[in-house]
């Protein structure tokens, strides 16, 4: 957010923002703890079918209700978040590594290589992500890895651009010039001076990428192209809720979607705060 806007609105606004960051942090912490701890602690089989308890409304025993073969939806949502987060984080890391490597290489070498690489980046941006993702998934059999690859391969572009411009601006800093003229090796300059400057930006890009990657996984799964339908992910949960929804049972659709909205908002909220600290003067970019 531009600083100027905050100035005019005073303290109340600032404290709201602090609360929002705190809220996001707590939510992310809860989600991470849940997906890490619940499966090993509870020792329940999320696939365990209880046909006698199908499509129960939300209640104390099943806060999110049960699905059409009697599986507890809260447990399924936790497992779904676990799979979706895993896919999201791995895909974001893949995308960030590719993007950082490409962006840094382009900026560091400059010249024709830089121009060619950036043209390729433009080229990739010309194909809608989801369509490209669909194409990649379609060419391989459904499963976790094709989805990760598909999301990773389609999301490194913005990171490449950010890293490139960051490297370019760092290169023109006096201390880098000084190091180069002082006879430091290329590698040394890169590791000692450029990398520390680039890493936070790349890290931020990676975190901002996670919700986006989750979104993509769920879209692919919803279309029936992502994970197999019996494996819980936020996308497959919504996908398999269509039947019950048509029969009037809303909870199998509502809760997985809510989980996704909450997780996305919380991660984006944290990342937003980090970004403001990192680039205080940059205009907010909505990177969802």
């Amino acid at each position: 957010m531009a600083e100027l806007t905050w100035k005019s609105t005073g303290d109340r606004r600032r404290s709201t923002r602090a609360w929002r960051v705190r809220g996001s942090a707590v939510t992310v912490a809860v989600i991470v703890l849940a997906v890490l701890l619940v499966p090993p602690l509870v020792q329940l089989d999320e696939q365990a079918v209880d046909l006698a308890a199908k499509l129960r409304q939300p209640s104390l025993a099943h806060p999110f209700g049960t699905d059409d073969v009697g599986r507890d939806l809260l447990l399924r949502c936790v497992y779904g978040l676990r799979v979706s987060l895993l896919v999201g984080v791995v895909a974001a890391v893949v995308a960030t590594v590719i993007g950082t490597a490409v962006g840094a290489a382009a900026a560091a070498s400059g010249g024709w290589f830089d121009r060619v690489v950036m043209r390729v980046v433009d080229l990739f941006s010309s194909v809608p992500h989801l369509l490209l993702g669909i194409f990649i998934v379609a060419m391989f059999s459904p499963g976790v890895w094709p989805v990760v690859v598909s999301v990773g391969l389609t999301h490194w572009l913005s990171t490449a651009r950010i890293v490139r411009s960051e490297v370019l601006s760092l290169r023109s800093r006096p201390y880098v010039d000084a190091a180069i003229s002082g006879g430091a090796s290329r590698l040394r300059v890169a590791v000692r001076h450029l990398l520390p400057g680039v890493l936070p930006q790349a890290g931020l890009a990676a975190v901002l990428m996670v919700p986006h990657a989750i979104w993509h996984e769920s879209a692919l799964s919803f279309l029936g192209l992502g994970l197999p339908t019996h494996q819980a992910s936020l996308g497959t949960l919504v996908q398999s809720s269509r039947g019950p929804l048509l029969a009037g049972d809303w909870w199998p659709t509502l809760f997985p979607g809510l989980c996704m909205v909450i997780a996305t908002l919380a991660i984006a909220g944290l990342a937003g705060a980090w970004r403001e600290r990192l680039n205080p003067r940059r205009r907010s970019e909505l990177m969802l």
């Binding site: 089989d45 696939q47 365990a48 079918v49 209880d50 046909l51 006698a52 199908k54 059409d68 073969v69 009697g70 059999s141 459904p142 029936g224 197999p228 339908t229 019996h230 398999s240 269509r242 039947g243 019950p244 048509l246 029969a247 009037g248």
Partner: protein, 532 residues
């Protein structure tokens, strides 16, 4: 929903809407009938699309193809009755010669007469090695077929085969059209010409098949003049479009069909079927090949719960290919859900429970993969329920999804959630499912089941015409399946249909697994008398 009643076009045209409408007006899906022909038209949603419409490649092999007729056809009660034949066939005393007298004065929809030559052509082409007909083995008994003049056909069999007449419901193709072109890829495969009650107007692949009544149909022109089958693979989408008034009728899974019950304007039909769901227990898998594991799983599984919940009561527990309410079912072969017994069988056989609750024997975990067809919700739910039941007995079943391309090469060692079933004759299912000589032959005997006693009974039962003798042989087989279940049979599923009540009270037949196009209440759409 009152979408149907509002018909006047009105309102302001948003510029962009008009533009886009104009751009696509010529190509809107559904440009079939003029308005007002409503009472004489019907649109039904189906889940399945044939690969080809040529009877020579297997289309309509179980009869009732709408475009074609067979020599025989099946009445509502599944009794055979003559169609292109003038009467039921005469069978020689040794059971190896079938003689059909043909109906006179029948023409194909292009006006050319139907003769004995067409019958001979159809059967000979199907048996031809170069014809890619995957169901060729169903006519295994047939040695030769010959025409006696224009109006009589004689079939000679290699061996006496009691249910042969049931096979002659297969549709007859016109030699003067289909004989002139490549049988596997010629235009006849998509633009068929037959003697049936309907002619194909258009086949928009993946979308719909449009039929119009054949004015020269030998049994009288159908009253429903326009008949459209919308191909909608997704159950949820089909239900949505039925509810929105888009369709007059549709086949639906039980949970969705249920939502139409008690609503005015629609009727729900439940067709009994021989359509079973089972888990193959491959002989070549070290776990499922063990008879103790097979028998334990057979009683560990809670079939009743599956029928009640997955099928919403629309089905029956299955203990073998023969449904419990069929005459051919062997009373007393029902197995009740008995977890204790399952555990005892496994304990006695040396499968001991490990720390995680899964059994082991000689260092081998009691675990095996179970595949279901990607996107098939019914099979997925059966598979998940089966895995849950098995786990309670200490057997780990890992559910996995795949397309047939993925599943097929693994069938020798991996379990599959499969379906099948044909009501016409007990031989049809049981021979292909259980005969050891068909092990691994495509989708026949997927479990590589090998039981000498069963093999002997199968051969004996198909060669005699004596109902009591056949019954005895099939009793033997069903009892043998209790002792050595090569498959865990789970359920026989009813097929549920919802149809607009303006078509009145319709009937349904007993249906097979592959029920093709003409099933449900529209099995006899040619006989419908639409109400206003």
């Amino acid at each position: 929903m009152t979408a149907r009643s509002i018909r006047t076009a009105g309102g302001a045209l948003v510029a962009v809407t008009a533009l886009a409408l104009a751009a696509s007006a010529c190509s809107a899906p559904g440009e079939t009938a003029p308005d007002g022909a409503m009472s004489g038209s019907a649109v039904v949603g189906i889940a399945y699309e044939p690969d080809s419409l040529s009877p020579l490649l297997g289309y309509g092999k179980d009869g009732n193809s709408k475009i074609f007729d067979g020599l025989l056809t099946r009445a509502a009660n599944m009794q055979l009755q003559p169609a292109l034949a003038a009467e039921l066939p005469k069978v020689s005393d040794d059971g190896r010669t079938y003689t059909y007298k043909l109906r006179e004065g029948v023409s194909f929809s292009d006006g050319k007469p139907f003769t004995a030559k067409d019958v001979v052509f159809t059967y000979e082409t199907i048996l031809d090695e170069k014809t890619n007909n995957a169901y060729k083995t169903e006519l295994d008994a047939l040695k030769s077929v010959e025409a006696e003049g224009d109006s009589e056909v004689v079939f000679h069999l290699k061996y006496p085969y009691a249910p042969f007449a049931e096979r002659t419901v297969l549709p007859i193709a016109p030699e003067h059209v289909a004989g002139e072109q490549d049988v596997n890829s010629g235009p006849f495969t998509t633009k068929p010409i037959g003697t049936g009650p309907y002619e194909l107007v258009k086949w928009s692949k993946g979308e719909k098949l449009t039929f119009k009544a054949n004015p020269g149909y030998w049994a009288g022109e159908p009253k429903v003049k326009e008949f459209t089958m919308a191909i909608i693979k997704d159950d949820d989408v089909r239900a949505t479009r039925l509810r929105s008034g888009d369709l007059d009728g549709a086949i639906l899974p039980p949970n969705l069909a249920k939502t139409f019950k008690g609503e005015g304007g629609n009727r729900t039909y439940t067709a009994k079927s021989f359509d079973y769901r089972l888990v193959t227990l491959p002989t070549h898998n070290k776990v499922t090949g063990d008879t103790a594991v097979r028998r334990a799983l057979d009683v560990a599984v809670d079939r009743k719960a599956m029928v009640d919940s997955i099928l919403d009561g629309a089905g029956k527990e299955a203990y073998g290919p023969v449904p419990t309410d069929s005459d051919w079912f062997t009373k007393g072969t029902e197995r009740s859900h008995d977890l204790k017994k399952a555990e005892r069988i496994l304990d006695d056989a040396g499968w001991k429970k490990g720390k995680d609750g899964i059994r082991e024997k000689d260092g081998r975990r009691a675990a095996f993969p179970l595949w279901y067809l990607t996107g098939d919700k019914l099979r997925q739910d059966h598979a998940l329920a089966y895995a849950s039941d098995a786990k309670k007995a200490g057997v780990e079943v890992k559910v996995q999804a795949g397309t047939w391309e993925v599943i097929e090469p693994r069938m020798k060692t991996d379990a599959v959630l499969a379906g099948g079933g044909s009501p016409a004759d007990p031989d049809f299912d049981q021979y292909s499912l259980l005969a050891s000589k068909l092990s691994g032959d495509g989708f026949n005997n997927m479990a590589w089941y090998d039981n000498a006693k069963v093999d002997k009974a199968l051969e004996a039962a198909r060669k005699t015409d004596d109902k009591a003798k056949r019954q005895a042989e099939y009793d033997t087989i069903q009892r043998e399946l209790v002792k050595d279940p090569g498959y865990t049979f789970l359920t026989h599923i009813d097929h549920l249909y919802v149809l607009n009540s303006r078509f009145g009270e319709r009937s349904t037949q007993v249906e097979p697994h592959d029920h093709g196009l003409a099933s449900g209440p529209w099995w006899n759409v040619e006989d419908w008398q639409p109400l206003k």
